[in-house]
Symmetry: C2
Subunit: 503 residues, 2 copies
């Protein structure tokens, strides 16, 4: 989350994992707009239709103005913040991003198996980032006891931006824990197809150009297949949740699809509840209130805020020690950190994990420039042209990025504090994404804005000891952000949900 | 609406047409309960599941705590107040109520054709009730100009209670304008089937015993068929709406089904908008903003509050004068008043309108005792046993009924004021419905209460000059009310939505 948000923006700051955009911003080419020449009358009708559709079809979130909206379902509901129309992407860029999903799935799996690589790469981060340090401690314990995860389930989302100058799709980050919006993203695609099927004629837009989005169904299928691999008919799928969650309906959609399609039982527990109700059996199985857990799906545990006391850490350790299939395991979680992203971008590192040269090339093509701060060559460049870089803290969540002249000032400050502090950050090439006009609807109000977009591609991966069972691209989500809020180099983590229009 | 509500009740007073129960209450037999012996744990799971289901599937209303919730869709949404389980009715009672629907449809149509009967029956009411008087004025104008409604569309809901002592289904009232909940009632049935399919085993309840509910689809079909009868491809269906409507999602469901199934255009207008935007053409057709109107569906105009100025009355007259198909016409509207209900209950009146003797008998069987206050025989009985009667004001909306000793006091007061004032009321046999325990969920909170239930049966009727096109029962809705709130004879108009479980 951003620590500073633009007061003049009509959009409230984001307050949940991955809801914010880990934005890199700039002013650049204005592309062909979907949104030109729409009459105010048509616009008004479309907004009304969209608001009604959201309300009737569960494209909703908890209203931050209602205190109970994150605690109890059914109260304080408001439509999700949405773009009225899908964001245009070229077929080739969209296909490229989709094709990367199974390769990244494979890459995460391979990296997760190399415990020393994870420990070594994160050794300096460990000293300055308490959260990563705790995760690494759990990881170390697993290495010490030679704990193996034979069935491995990954539900990832890789986020990209289109660099306007190079016209390359560049990866912003790879989320390997608690990817948000698999449920709502499908609804946004459906909403846009609905709107275009009614108003597409007037807009000269074709509803079939909004790609099919199966994120929630495919995620549910992958969870169900993992449960089947665990092979115990009495075992349950446990969802690790936050004590308050305004994005609860996104999760409820996934659970609802699971419940309708599959007979097994689901339970939702907070880390604190798991600590008190969980019990590790001598055979390594995990019981929650005497119920055997087959699969643990994390929708919490990705931020230090989720671990207010040792109780929560003990729950995380307990789960990791168990034979339950963790989505993600501690290794998968660590494999998704920015520092690992940066390590993988170093020459000859991808080759250690991927056998196929084509795959290596495809992945490398989507990497933006990534450096650690002990790289003296790049530091010189940064001091000369800080506007071309982004300084990113290690920790997950996005939004704390540093831009513009602040990059230089921060680096000077960190250098004074010593090299340890530098290890808490990585440096990334600043992507200047294409900016486009958009109609955003939030709190029932329409805003015409210039936005930048981040394309997220959902991936699912499941394997057992013998073979890969699932390795696929599942769906997509575009999140847009008001680009003007980035003036002065401060990026506020706004999240407005959007889909894709293939051009 | 009730003028006094029980402060201790957890349920907010109803504030919309037909949302309240026009309740007649009492303590009587406790029937076989659906709700006994449910463990707190199971109950908690069911409530959570129900709240999630409502949120994802649009079983929602505007939250009265949110000022914008009645004006803008998508904001200030809360789950509809619901009973957790369906209300049990015997198959024979349910079938009986359903079979009455086409007969009442026919009856309303026949009564509507007898302008003198309507005028004569309501002549005394006219003098004391300004609202009915205005409706009658419009009706008179139509009679004077010999205005005919050749295509007639009725979307009615007849409400019943089960009298515990006689075990008879008795009619409370027949709504011929703006029947609420055709949209949400279907969702409540679906919710209950969903809950019983998941938890029915534990509860020993069978989800297939919740009858199919097609109210919204059938209402949409009837509106579409009326549009077709009007026979102008460029004409629209206009919905007359209130300026604020917290029950908007019920209406949106109906409109949404119409839009998906049929190609024509819908518009929603307030009475004030119709007054300024509407124009009667020389050929009698109605234009709204130069758009021809085929069908007018009223979801407003049933209460004096909807006519704050002459503007709104001019809109009502304009519509009535037009060739557009009104649902309802002024005659249909008047045919649904309580005074007409009471007139129809008089000996040999039904026979004037219905040809089939069986139909007459079926209708008569569901009539409670109904009297006007100039009936001196019954007045004597009332003074002796006021607890056996309900005093009902003429005006639509329900909830202002007078019970218990207040009946006597009010009658004495009215008698002093003279016979004119007496004409503003009708007297009805007090029905003592069966009371049963129920789990009610409102504002995300579960309440265990003893409730009484009112069964509403939706009916649709459409005919043209030659023939009847639609005459059917469409669906149903049970509304429950906390019976304890009726202590002291004051009935608050609470509405909790429920479905039916056939026993």
């Amino acid at each position: 989350m951003s620590e500073t948000s633009s007061a003049s923006s009509p959009f409230p700051p984001n307050d949940g994992k991955s809801e914010g955009i880990d934005a890199q911003d700039g002013n650049s080419i204005i592309p062909i707009s979907l949104n030109e020449e729409i009459s105010p009358n048509l616009l008004q009708k479309m907004v009304h239709n969209a608001l009604v559709w959201c309300s009737l079809h569960g494209l909703v979130v908890g209203d931050k103005n209602n205190q109970r909206s994150g605690k109890v379902p059914g109260v304080g509901i408001v439509h999700a913040p949405i773009a009225l129309l899908p964001m245009s992407f070229s077929q080739s860029h969209f296909r490229q991003a989709c094709e990367l999903a199974p390769i990244f799935n494979e890459l995460v799996d391979r990296v997760s198996l190399d415990g020393n690589f994870l420990q070594d790469s994160l050794s300096r981060t460990k000293k300055v980032d308490a959260f990563t340090s705790r995760l690494l401690d759990i990881h170390s314990k697993m290495l010490e006891t030679n704990k193996k995860e034979e069935i491995r389930l990954g539900l990832h989302r890789s986020d990209y931006m289109l660099d306007a100058q190079s016209q390359d799709i560049l990866q912003i980050e790879l989320n390997t824990i608690s990817c948000s919006f698999p449920g709502l993203s499908c609804l946004v695609s459906e909403l846009h197809r609905h709107l275009l099927s009614h108003y597409g004629g007037d807009l000269k837009l074709d509803s079939t150009r909004v790609p099919e989005n199966m994120a929630s169904t495919r995620y549910a299928d992958a969870l169900a297949k993992a449960w089947k691999e665990y092979n115990n008919a009495r075992a349950v799928i446990m969802i690790v949740v936050q004590t308050e969650e305004r994005n609860m309906y996104d999760q409820h959609w996934l659970c609802s699809i699971l419940k309708e399609k599959y007979p097994f039982y689901l339970c939702a527990k907070t880390l604190a509840e798991i600590a008190t109700e969980g019990k590790l059996q001598p055979d390594g199985t995990l019981l929650i209130n005497d119920q055997l857990v087959a699969v643990i799906y994390f929708r919490a545990g990705y931020t230090p805020n989720d671990y207010p006391s040792e109780l929560e850490w003990s729950a995380r350790l307990l789960m990791e020690q168990s034979t339950a299939i963790k989505c993600p395991s501690i290794s998968y979680h660590l494999a998704g950190t920015k520092k690992i992203q940066q390590e993988l971008a170093k020459p000859n590192v991808l080759e250690r994990f991927l056998d196929d040269n084509d795959d290596v090339m495809k992945i490398r093509k989507c990497f933006a420039g990534l450096w650690s701060l002990d790289d003296s060559n790049i530091m010189k460049d940064v001091m000369e042209s800080p506007e071309l870089f982004v300084l990113k803290p290690q920790r997950e969540g996005g939004g704390n990025n540093i831009y513009g002249d602040d990059v230089k000032q921060t680096l000077l400050k960190l250098q004074k504090e010593g090299s340890e502090e530098l290890a808490a950050y990585i440096l990334m090439q600043r992507i200047f994404p294409t900016e486009s006009p958009a109609f955003l609807v939030q709190g029932g109000i329409l805003h015409e804005e210039h936005v930048i977009a981040e394309l997220g591609i959902y991936g699912a991966y499941l394997r057992n000891k013998e073979k890969v069972i699932v390795n696929e691209q599942c769906g997509y989500l575009t999140r847009t952000k008001v680009s003007s809020s980035n003036e002065g180099g401060v990026v506020a983590g706004f999240a407005v949900l959007d889909s894709v229009y293939l051009t």
